[in-house]
Symmetry: C2
Subunit: 415 residues, 2 copies
C-alpha cells in the first residue's frame, strides 16, 4: 500500500475515532482482546517464523528473548487491553471554563493528538499495547515495528483490524506498517507531507536518538535514565539503606533504576561501608570518587564518564558531596532529567530539592523504581518522556491528548 493511502486512511479514521464515544472505543478494545484470544495459534505460529529467521540471521540472545512470544506473554497482552478498557477516557474533558469580561466563556477541552506514529523494535507486545492506548485516547496510529518481528506484528494486526471492524470502526484507526521497508519510517517522520502528526519512538537509545534527529514532526521520547539517590546529612540511615538497595538492585535493566548515589559527607563514614556490604551481596560493582574509595575497600575509581552513564547493569557510581547544593548541581548537570530522589528528614532540605531538581520525577524518601505509569495511577503508559515540553515522565492516556481552547459566546465581537 503506498504511503499516501496509509495517510488518507489514517486521516479518515481520525475523523471517526477522535469523536467516538467511550463505549464504542471500549467495545473495539474488547473485540480486539477477544480476537487475539481466538488467534493465539496463528500469532504463536507467526512468532515462531520470526524466531526461526532471527536465529538464522544470528540475532543475539537478548534480542531473541524480547522477540519471543509464548502463551503467558499472549495472556499478558490480552490482559493489558482489558485493563485499558477500565481506564477513564480523557477525551472531551473541559476544564477552567471561565466567563471573561467580554461575556465569552473560555475553557480548555482535551482532545486526541492526531495521527500518532510509533516506531519500535523487537517486542511484539508493543503493537497491541500502543494500539490500545492510542485507540482509547481517540488517536489514529501507524505502528512500525522491527523487521525481525514482522510476521508476529502482522498476525497481531490482523486481530486489531478484526476487532475494529466488529465495533464498526474503520480499520484505518490502527495501521501496522504493511512493509518491513526502511523507507516507510522516512515517510512517517518527515518529508514534505509527513504521514504522522506526532512520533513516539520506543526502543534502544540509538534508535530514539536517530528518529529524534531526523524527524520533522514533534517527537515524544525517552532517552537516558541516569537516576540518582542523594542521601542527605539529615537522612534516616535505615530508610536510606532500603531506598539505595531497592533503587539499584530491584531490577538492573530498567530506566528507573538508580545509576549514581550521592552521599552527604557528614554521613559518608557511616553509610558507605554498610552500603558496600549490601551491594556486595548483590554483586554490584562500585565506582567511586576519591573519598568513596577511601571508605570502601575494593571500590574502583570513577572517571568523569561514570557520572553520566546509564549502566543498566550491576554497577553504581558513588560520590561524596559536601551538601544539598552540590547534590542538586551534580544531578542537574550529569543527570538525564528522568528520576532523582532525596533521602532526608529535613523539611527545608526536602522542599528545596523538590523545587530545584529539574527532572521528570523528583522524589523524597522513596525508591526511584516508583517512576512508572502503574505506580503513579495512570493505569498504563506508552513510555516515559524525558522531554521538557508536553508530558514529562510516565505518559499515559492524558499524555496522548492535548487541550484546545473552547469559546462559547452569544454573538460577541471585538471592539
Amino acid at each position: 500500500m503506498p504511503y499516501q493511502d496509509v495517510k488518507a486512511s489514517a486521516q479518515a479514521a481520525l475523523g471517526v475515532i477522535s469523536t467516538a464515544t467511550t463505549d464504542t472505543k471500549n467495545r473495539a478494545l474488547i473485540a480486539i482482546s477477544a480476537a487475539l484470544d481466538s488467534a493465539r495459534d496463528a500469532v504463536l505460529l507467526a512468532n515462531a517464523k520470526d524466531m526461526e529467521q532471527g536465529r538464522e540471521a544470528g540475532l543475539d540472545a537478548a534480542l531473541l528473548d524480547r522477540l519471543a512470544l509464548n502463551p503467558e506473554r499472549v495472556d499478558a497482552m490480552i490482559e493489558g487491553v482489558r485493563q485499558i478498557v477500565a481506564l477513564p477516557d480523557p477525551v472531551g474533558e473541559i476544564s477552567q471554563l471561565r466567563r471573561r469580561p467580554s461575556g465569552i466563556e473560555v475553557g480548555l477541552m482535551r482532545q486526541p493528538l492526531g495521527v500518532i506514529g510509533i516506531i519500535y523494535e523487537s517486542r511484539p507486545n508493543v503493537t497491541i499495547d500502543a494500539a490500545a492506548l492510542c485507540l482509547k485516547s481517540g488517536n489514529a496510529c501507524v505502528l512500525r515495528g522491527g523487521s525481525e518481528a514482522f510476521h508476529s506484528n502482522q498476525a497481531i494486526a490482523h486481530c486489531i483490524t478484526a476487532g475494529l471492524v466488529e465495533a464498526g470502526l474503520p480499520a484505518g484507526v490502527v495501521q501496522v506498517a504493511p512493509t518491513a521497508d526502511r523507507d516507510f519510517v522516512g515517510a512517517m517522520i518527515g518529508g514534505t507531507d509527513p504521514l504522522c502528526d506526532v512520533i513516539i519512538p520506543r526502543g534502544g537509545k540509538s534508535l530514539i536518538a536517530r528518529i529524534a534527529d531526523e524527524a520533522r514532526v514533534p517527537v515524544i521520547k525517552h532517552l537516558d535514565g541516569n537516576c540518582h539517590v542523594y542521601v542527605d546529612a539529615d537522612a534516616c540511615v535505615e530508610r536510606a539503606m532500603l531506598i539505595l538497595e531497592n533503587s539499584k538492585t530491584h531490577r538492573y535493566g530498567v530506566c528507573n533504576a538508580a545509576e549514581s548515589f550521592l552521599i552527604h559527607e557528614a554521613l559518608a563514614a557511616q553509610v558507605l561501608p554498610r552500603l558496600a556490604a549490601i551491594l556486595s551481596t548483590h554483586g554490584v560493582e562500585i565506582r567511586g570518587c576519591e573519598r568513596t574509595c577511601a571508605l570502601i575497600e575494593g571500590a574502583q575509581p570513577a572517571n568523569n564518564d561514570d557520572w553520566s552513564t546509564e549502566y543498566l547493569a550491576p554497577i553504581v557510581a558513588v560520590k561524596v558531596v559536601d551538601g544539598l547544593d552540590s547534590a542538586i548541581a551534580h544531578i542537574n548537570h550529569y543527570g538525564s532529567h528522568h528520576t532523582d530522589a532525596i533521602v532526608s528528614e529535613n523539611y527545608t532540605t526536602v522542599r528545596k530539592f523538590m523545587r530545584a531538581v529539574d527532572s521528570a520525577s523528583v522524589m523524597a524518601n522513596a525508591s526511584t523504581r516508583f517512576a512508572d505509569g502503574f505506580e503513579y495511577g495512570l493505569g498504563a503508559e506508552i513510555g516515559i518522556s524525558t522531554d521538557r515540553i508536553h508530558a514529562r515522565g510516565p505518559v499515559g492516556l492524558e499524555g496522548l491528548t492535548n487541550q484546545k481552547w473552547v469559546v462559547f459566546g452569544d454573538g460577541q465581537v471585538r471592539t
Copy 2:
C-alpha cells in the same frame, strides 16, 4: 562572547531564576521597567540608527514601521512589563496530589521549561516582552532579534541587565544575542550541544518554517492563521452578520482574522447578498465557490489554493456547504488548526462542532478575533501556538512551564 560562554551563563542563571521567589522576580521586572523609563533617549537614539541603516539598506515601508520606536511605543513596552508584574506566578503550583496504594503521594509540580531561545524579526518590543515573560515564568532566555534591529535591541538589553542586577539576579537570566551574526542562530537551535532547551521563533512564516525545519530542540511555533467562520442552517442571521464582519474586517493583518467563510446552503441565498453588501463597504474582495458566485455579483471564482491561503488582506474565500459534516471536513483539511468558529443556535450542532474541529481555538457564536492571550485571561502571550503537543493557541506564562512529577514517600520501596 563565544557561544559556550552564553550557554554556561544561561545555565548558571537558570539555577537561580528557576527557584527565585515571585517577589524577587517582580522586583527585577519593576527595576527593568524603571531602567527603560530612564533610558528612553538612549533607546530612541539607538533605534534612529537602526532606522537610518534600514532606509539606506532599502527596507520596505512595512518593515521600517515594525522597526520604528517612538515615545508611545516605549510607553507601551514599559506598561507591558508592569502588567506582567501583576500576573500570578505559575511556578511551584502542585496539582493532583494523590495517595497511591503503596503509600507514596504523587502529584504534578509546575516548573520552568529551561533555557528558552527566542528568534524574531524586526520588532524591538519583542525583546522586552519576551524577556519579561520568560523571567516571570522562571526561565533563562537567549534573545536573537533581527540584525536590522541590532542597536535598538542592544539598548533595550542594557536596561534589562541593569534591572536584573539591581534585583540581585544574574545578568545571564536574559541574554540578548551579542552579535548580528547568523551562525548564532545555528548554535541556539542545534549542533551537538544546543544553547537552548526550547526554541520559540516569532515573525514571518518563512522564518518560522526554516527554524522549525532546522531545529534539533523542541520548537513552540505559530505557522498559519487560516481561520474560518461557518454559518450553520440554524444560525441567527443577525449574529452571523456581525461575527462575519468582525472576524474579517476588524483587522486584516492578524493571525486570528477570518480568511474563509463557509455558509450552509439553506441560508446561502439569505446571507450571501447581505454579506456582499457589508464587505463591499470595507472594500473586501470575495473569492467564491461556484454557488457563491451565482449569488454574489462581482465575486471572483476561488481556486483550490484560496481554501488554504492566509490572505492577511481584505480578501475572503467563501464557500457554500451542504451541512455541518462538510464544514468540519473542510476546516480540518484546509485550515491551519488555529481558530475556527461556528454560528448556530442548534445545541447538538454546536456540541459536535466544538468536539470535531481540531484547532487550537474552537468557538461558538463569537468572533475569531477573540483568540488572544488578553481576551482569554492569560494577561500576556509570548505567541499563539499552532502545534499539537504542549500548549495550543495563546501561550502565556503557563505555556512557558511544564509539569514534573513529585513523589513524597516515607521510605517506600518497590517489592
